[in-house]
Subunit: 462 residues, 4 copies
C-alpha cells in the first residue's frame, strides 16, 4: 500500500489514540462522547495488559483467570481478573494492570460526572460492583467499626422501600424508625423526632442516622443538611441514601450543603438509576473534608470483585461525554416539568389532582380520591395499577391506605406511603433519567383509557 495512504491512515490512528492519552492525563469526562469503535478499542488494549492475555503466559497458580467459554470471554473483552485485592477493592492487581487501570479511571470519571450533576466539594468516589442495598450494608458496617462498641442503633427517617431496612438488619444493627411529618400533601423530615430518637437511645448507642434524598412522592427528600448539622452536634454518624438522586440538581445541592455544613459519613447512590446501566453497581462518596468512611469501605471489602458493573459504567460515561451527560440531566429536568403539566391536565379531566410536593423533583403523586369512591368497596383502588400494567405502562405505584407490612421483623402501618395514615389514596409516576416527552404523552393516553374503563365498570355495578 502506498506511503501516502498509509501516512494519512496513521494520522487518523494517531488522532484517535490522542483520545486515550488525553483521557488518561485529564482523568475526567471527555467533552464529546466517544464512538463505540474507540471505546472497544480502548478496552481491548487495556485487556492485553492483563496476564491472562499475555502471549505465551504459563499459568500455574490457583487463579489464572482462565475463561472456558469464548462467549463469556468476549463479552468481557477478555478481562477476567476482576478488581481489587484482599486488602482493598480499589487496589491494583499485579497480574492485571489493564483491569486496575480501567477501575481507577472509572472512579475518577464518575466523580467528574457527579460533580457536573451538582455534587460540589466531593472527595473521591468509589464504585462498587454491588447494588445500593448491599453497598449500604457495607457502609453501615464500616461506620459501625469506627463507632463505640455499643453503637448498634440506626435511626432512620422512614421511607417505604424494603431495601434500606434489610441493609440495616443484614449489618446486624437495630432499626429505629422515625416517621416523617405531614405538611400539606407532603411528607417532610421530622427533625425534632430525629433528635428525640437519638437522644432517647443515647448517642453512644447510635451508629448513625440514615436519611434519603430520592423517594416516592408524596414524601419529600430529607432535609439532609439539617440532619447533618444535628449529627455533628450530637456526634453520631450520618449516612445519606442518595439512591437515584444524582439525576436531580436540587437533591445534589442538598447533599452538598449537608457535607459542607454538617456531618456526612457517606453517601450511597445506584449506578443503574443514575447512569442508565444494568443493575449491579453503586457509588460511595462523601465530602472532601471527611473521607474516612469511603476509605474504610474500600479497605474493608474482602477479596476481589466483578469488574462487570465498572465496565458498564465506564463505557456509558465515555459514550456520553460531559456534553451528553449534561444533556441527559437537562432533558430529565425538562421532562419532569412536562410531566407535571400534562399529567395535571389529564387527571384534572377526571376529577383528580397532582399532590403538591415541591420537595420531590422526580416523583409525582396523583390523588385517586374520586375513583376510590367509585370502587367496589368505596376505597380499594389497588387494581388501578394492574389496569395500567396490562396496558404496557410499567412503574406506576398505587398506594391505598391501611396496609400493614412486616419487613424482616419490623412492622409498618400504612406501608407504601411512608406514613401510618396518609389521608388520600394515590398513585405515583416518575420523570426519571431517560424518560422522554413521548413517554409522557403515551402515558397520559393510556391513563385516560384507564380512567374511562374504571368509570364504565363503576357505572355497570352502579
Amino acid at each position: 500500500v502506498s506511503k501516502a495512504y498509509i501516512n494519512q491512515g496513521s494520522q487518523a490512528t494517531a488522532r484517535r489514540s490522542k483520545l486515550v492519552t488525553s483521557l488518561l492525563s485529564e482523568r475526567r469526562l471527555p467533552k464529546d462522547g466517544w464512538d463505540d469503535h474507540s471505546i472497544e478499542s480502548f478496552l481491548s488494549e487495556a485487556a492485553m495488559m492483563d496476564s491472562n492475555n499475555f502471549l505465551d503466559n504459563v499459568g500455574v497458580g490457583e487463579r489464572e483467570a482462565r475463561v472456558y467459554s469464548p462467549l463469556v470471554a468476549r463479552r468481557h473483552w477478555n478481562l477476567a481478573h476482576g478488581i481489587g485485592r484482599s486488602g482493598d477493592v480499589a487496589a491494583e492487581q499485579p497480574k492485571a494492570a489493564g483491569s486496575s487501570l480501567l477501575n481507577k479511571l472509572t472512579n475518577l470519571l464518575v466523580a467528574d460526572a457527579m460533580r457536573i450533576a451538582g455534587l460540589e466539594d466531593m472527595g473521591p468516589a468509589l464504585v462498587l460492583p454491588l447494588a445500593t442495598g448491599m453497598t449500604l450494608t457495607l457502609v453501615l458496617l464500616a461506620v459501625k467499626s469506627k463507632r463505640p462498641k455499643t453503637a448498634t442503633k440506626v435511626v432512620w427517617c422512614r421511607l417505604d422501600q424494603k431495601t434500606c431496612v434489610k441493609a440495616v438488619l443484614s449489618a446486624g444493627l437495630e432499626l429505629v424508625v422515625v416517621s416523617p411529618k405531614l405538611v400539606g400533601d407532603q411528607l417532610c423530615t421530622d427533625l425534632d423526632a430525629v433528635r428525640a430518637a437519638v437522644e432517647a437511645a443515647g448517642p453512644a448507642n447510635v451508629c448513625c442516622v440514615v436519611t434519603s434524598t430520592s423517594c416516592f412522592a408524596p414524601r419529600a427528600g430529607d432535609a439532609c443538611s439539617d440532619v447533618a448539622k444535628m449529627c455533628a452536634e450530637l456526634d453520631v454518624g450520618h449516612v445519606v441514601n442518595n439512591a437515584y438522586g444524582v439525576q436531580a440538581t436540587a437533591l445534589c445541592k442538598e447533599v452538598t450543603k449537608a457535607w459542607r455544613r454538617g456531618r456526612v459519613d457517606a453517601v450511597v447512590q445506584s449506578t443503574d438509576k443514575n447512569f442508565m446501566v444494568p443493575v449491579g453497581g453503586a457509588v460511595v462518596c462523601s465530602g472532601k473534608g471527611n473521607t474516612e468512611i469511603v476509605d474504610a469501605v474500600r479497605k474493608s471489602y474482602p477479596g476481589r470483585a466483578s469488574i462487570s458493573p465498572v465496565l458498564d459504567l465506564l463505557i456509558t460515561l465515555l459514550s456520553m461525554g460531559s456534553h451528553g451527560w449534561q444533556r441527559c440531566l437537562e432533558d430529565r429536568g425538562d421532562v419532569y416539568g412536562y410531566m407535571r403539566t400534562k399529567l395535571g391536565e389529564c387527571v384534572g379531566e377526571f376529577g383528580e389532582r397532582l399532590l403538591d410536593t415541591p420537595g420531590n423533583p422526580i416523583s409525582i403523586g396523583v390523588s385517586l380520591e374520586t375513583h376510590a369512591k367509585l370502587s367496589e368497596d368505596g376505597k380499594d383502588v389497588s387494581f388501578f395499577g394492574s389496569m395500567l400494567f396490562s396496558r404496557c405502562v410499567s412503574g406506576t405505584r398505587v398506594v391505598a391506605p391501611g396496609k400493614r407490612q412486616d419487613v424482616g421483623g419490623v412492622v409498618f402501618d400504612g406501608f407504601g406511603a411512608s406514613h401510618d395514615a396518609y389521608p388520600v389514596p394515590y398513585f405515583t409516576a416518575a420523570a426519571a433519567l431517560g424518560t422522554t416527552r413521548e413517554d409522557v404523552d403515551r402515558f397520559c393516553a393510556q391513563l385516560r383509557k384507564c380512567f374511562k374503563d374504571f368509570r364504565k365498570k363503576a357505572a355497570k355495578r352502579g
Copy 2:
C-alpha cells in the same frame, strides 16, 4: 420458499428448541454442551420476557432498566433488571420474568455440576454475584444472626490469605487464630487446638469455626468432617471455605462427609476458580439436612444484584454440559499427577524435592533449601518468583521464612506459610482446573532455565 425446505428447516428449529424445553423440564446440565448459537438464542429469548424489552412499553417508574449504551445492552443481551428483590436475592422480579428464570436455572445447574463433582446430599445452591470473600462476610453475618448476641468470635484454622481475615473483620466479628500442626512436610488441622480455642472462648461466645479445604501446599485441606463433628458436639456454627475445592474430588468427599456426620452451616466456593468464569461470583450451599443459613443469606441480601456473574456461569455450564464438565474434572486430576511426576524429575536435577503433602490434591510445594544456601545472604529466595514471572510464568509463590505481616490488625509470623516457623523455604505451583500438560511442560522448561541462571549468578558472586 418452497414448503419442503421450510418444513425441513422447521424440524431443525424444533430439534433445537427441544434443547430448551428439556433443559427447563429436567433442570440439570444437558449431557452434551450447547453450541454458542443455541446459548445466545436462549438468552435472547429470555431477555424478551423482561419489561424493558417489551415492545411498546411505557416506563414511568424510578427504575425501568433503561440502558444508555447499545454496547452495554448488547453485552448483557439486553438483560438489565438484575436479579433479586429487596426481600430475597433469589426472588422473582415481576418486571423481569426472563432474568428471574435464568437466575433460578443457574442455581439448579450449578447444584447439578457440584453433585457431579462429588458433593453428595447437597441442599439448594445459591449463586451470588459476589466473590468469595464478600460472600463469606454475608454468610458470617447470617450465622451470627442465628447465634446468641454474645457469639462474636470466629475460630479459624490459619490459612495465609488475607481474604478470610478481612471477611471476618468486615462482618464486625473477632478472629481467633488456630495454627495447623506440622506432620512431616504437611500442615494439618490441629483438632485439639480448635477444641481448646472454642472452649477457652466459651461456645456461647463463638459464632462459628471456619475451616478451609483448598489451600496452598504444604498446608493440607482441613479435616472438615472431624471439625463438623466437634461443632455439633460443642453447638457452635461451622462454615467451610471451599474456595476452589469443587475441582478436586477428594475435597468434595471431605465436605460431603462433614455435612453427613456433623455440623456444617454453609460452604462457600468461588465461581471463577471452579468453573473458569471471570472473577465475581460465589456459590453458597450446605448439606440437604441443614439449609437454614443458605436460606438466611438468600433472604438477608439487601436489594437487587448484578446478573452478570450468573450469566457467565450459566453460559459456561450450558457450554460444558455434564460430559464436558466431567472431562474438565478428570483432566485436572490427570494433570495434577503429571505435574507431580514432571516437576519432581525437574527439581530433582537441581537438588530440590517435592514436599510430601498427600492432603492437598491441587497445590504442590517444592523445596528451595539448596538454592537458599546459594543465595546472597544464604537464605533469601524471594526473587526466585520474579525470575519466573519475567519468564512468563505466573502463579508461583515463593515463601521464605520469617515474614511478619499485619492483616487488618491481626499479626502473623511466618506469613505465607500458614505457620509461624515452617522449616524450609519453598515455592508452590498448582494444577488448577484448565491447566494442561503442555502448561506443565513449558513450566518445567522455564524452571530449568531459572535454576541454571540462579546458579550462574551464585557462581559469579562465588
Copy 3:
C-alpha cells in the same frame, strides 16, 4: 418462576414474534423499524434452518458450509451456504432454507423501499452481491444474449467515471461515446447525437444504449424517458445506470416515466449509496411490463454467491422500517436545499457562484474561476481538493479543464467534466443520503478557511 410472570413474559415474546409473522405474510417494509434485538433474533432463527446448523448433522459432501473460525461464523450469524444455485442466483437451496428465505425476503423488501422512493410500476427487484460495475457487466451480457449476434456496440451517454466504461469492455462489447450538450451551465442528453450514433452503427449492431441518472454536476441526469422512447422505436436495448438515483425522487420519476413510455431493459442501482450499507451489492430491476432481462440475469448468474451484502441490506431495511426510510429520503431532499443555500452564500463571499444545474438533484457544482486566475499559472486549481482533504473534508472533486485520460483504451478529453471542453473550472459537492445540516455547516466553515488560505498564498506570490 411463577406462572403469572411467565405468562406475561410469553405475551411479550408473542408480540415480538408477531413482528416476524407479519413481515413474512406482508412481505414489505414494517412501518416502524425493528430494534437490533428483534433483527438478530430473526436472523439467528433463520440460520437454524440451514443444514450446517442442524443438530447432529453428518456432512459428507464436498460443500458442507463448515466454518473454521468462530469469529467468522458469528459475524454471519452462522449463515454459510451463500445464496443461489448453479441455475439461478435467486433459487432456493435445499440445504439452506433459512438463507433462501432471507434472500427472497430481501428482494421483496428492497422492491418495497424502491417503490416508496418513487419507482412506480416496477417489476421484481433482484439484489446481487456485486457492486454496480460488475452488475452492469452481467446485465450487458444478458442483454447481449437476447440481441442478434452482431449487436456488440454499446451507445453510451458520456459520464466521466471509469466504472461504466470498464463494465462495457469487460463484457467484451464495444463502446460508442456520445457527448452531452452544454445548455447554460448544464450538460444535457444530446438526443439527436444518440439517435445518430445508433443509426450510424446500425441498430442490428447495437446491443443497447446506456443512460445514467445520478451523476456529478454540472452534468444533469439523462433524459431517460426520451431515450427509452427512441430505443423502442429503433428496436435497440436500453440499460439505465441509476447508480445512486434511488435517493432522489426526481430521478426515480424519470426512470418510472422511461419504463412506462418506452423501452427499458434493466435499471441498475448500488446498495451502498442508496441504502447506506458497506460497498458490495447492487439491485437490478425494470418496469413490470418488461422483466425479461432481470430474469435472464438471475438465471445466468453462474453458481452461488455471498449472502453478506444481502444481509447488510436486510438488516438495514428492517432497522429503518418504511417510516425511517421515508425520513431518510425527506431529510436528504431537505439537506440538498440547505446545501445550495449555504454553499451559495459561502462561495459568493469569495467571488464564486453555484453552477445552475436544475437537472441534478444531488450534486452541486461551484465555479472556481476567480481562484483559477489567482493560481500560480493562472489556471490550475486542482490542489484545492487536497487543501480540503487535509482539513478533513472528503468527497469534493475539483475539475480543471484540459485533462486527457485513457480508460481501457478509450481516450477522453477534458476527463472529469463529461465534456471535451467545459468552459470553467469548478468543484463538486453532494448532498447524498445521510448528509446532515451539521455536515453542511462544517463543510462551509472549512471551505471559508480554504479560500482564505488560497488567497493568502496568492498574495504572497503576488
Copy 4:
C-alpha cells in the same frame, strides 16, 4: 496505577503488536495462529485508517461509506469502503488505506497458504469476492479478450455440475463438450478427444480448454499437465477449475506440473471449500511464468467490490497460522484413508463395493448394484439419498443411470455421472476439509441403518 504494573502491561502490548509488524514485514502466514482478540484488534486498527472512521471527517461526496445500522457496521468492523477502484479490483483506495492494506495482505497470505498446500512456482494470487462460477466467467472473458475475435469456443472436459456450463454461457461463449473415457471404474481425461475437438473447431476459433481437478467420483481429476502441454502446442488457452482441489496435495501437484510443463492461463479455486469460510469468494492464480490473465482479471473488474469474503479469509488464515493450516490438510488426507477403509467395510457387509478411483483423492463412489436390483422397478435407487438425508446425513449424491438434463440449452445424457452411460448406479461421499473421523463413524452407522431399512422394504414388497 503503579509504573511497574503499567510497564509490564506495556511489554505485553508490545509483544502483541509485534505480531502485527512481523506479519506486515514477512507477508506470509504466521507460524502459530492468532487468537481472536489479536485478530479483532488488528482489524479494528486497520478500520481506523479508512476515511469513514476518521474523527471529525466531513463527507460531501457521493460515496462516503456511511453505514446506517450499527449492527451492520459492527459486523464489518466499520470497514465500509469495499475494495478496488474502477480500474483495478486490487488497487488501493485513497479514502480507505486500511481496507486496501487488508486486501493486499489477504492476497499475499492466501498465496502462502496455497504454496504450503503444494502449488509451487505460483505467481500472485487474486482473491475475488465472487464464488467460483462467477469468477470463471470473469476469467473466460479475460482469456477471450486476449484471443482472436473468432475464438468463441470453449472445449470442456465434461464434469456434471451446472456451474461451469453456466459460466461459459454467461460469458457469451460456446460450449464444446468432451466426454471422459471409462477406464475400469474410473472416468479419465480423453486426451485424444480433447485434441480432436480443438482441431475440429480450429484453434483460432477456440478460446480455451477448461479442465477440472476436484470432482465427484468415479470421475478422476483431469490430466491437467497433459492438456497443458497440448494447449501450448496448439496455441489455445487453458483454464483449470481447481474448485476444491487446494485441499488435496495430489491435485496441487498436478496443477503445478501443468503450469511448469505447458500452458495454463488461470486456475480458479473456491475459498469456502478450501478454507472453510462462508460461500462468496474465489482465488485466481497461475504459474509465475504466465501471470497475464490474472493481471487482466484484476484490471478488468469493473468498479468496487465487497470486502466481506476477503475479511472472512483473512481472519481464517490468521486464525489457522501455517501450523494450523498444515494440520487441516494432513487431517483431511488421513480422514480420506479412514473413510475408504471404514466405508469399504461397511458397504461390503451389504454386497456393495467402493469404486476404484485412484485419481480422485477426495470423493469416493460406492456401487448400488445389489440394491438397485432390490428396488421396486429393479433399478431406481434415487430415493436412497433422501433416506440418508432424513437421517441427518447431508452431502451424499445418488446417481442412477439414464437421466437426461438440459443445462442452459446444452443437453446431457446420463447427467450426474459425467458420462452418457456409466455402467452401475452408485452414490458418492467425500472426505472434504473439516470432515472428522467421528463424522465417518456416524456416517457408516446411519448407512448401515439405511441398507437394512432398504432391504426390509424390499422384503415386504417381496
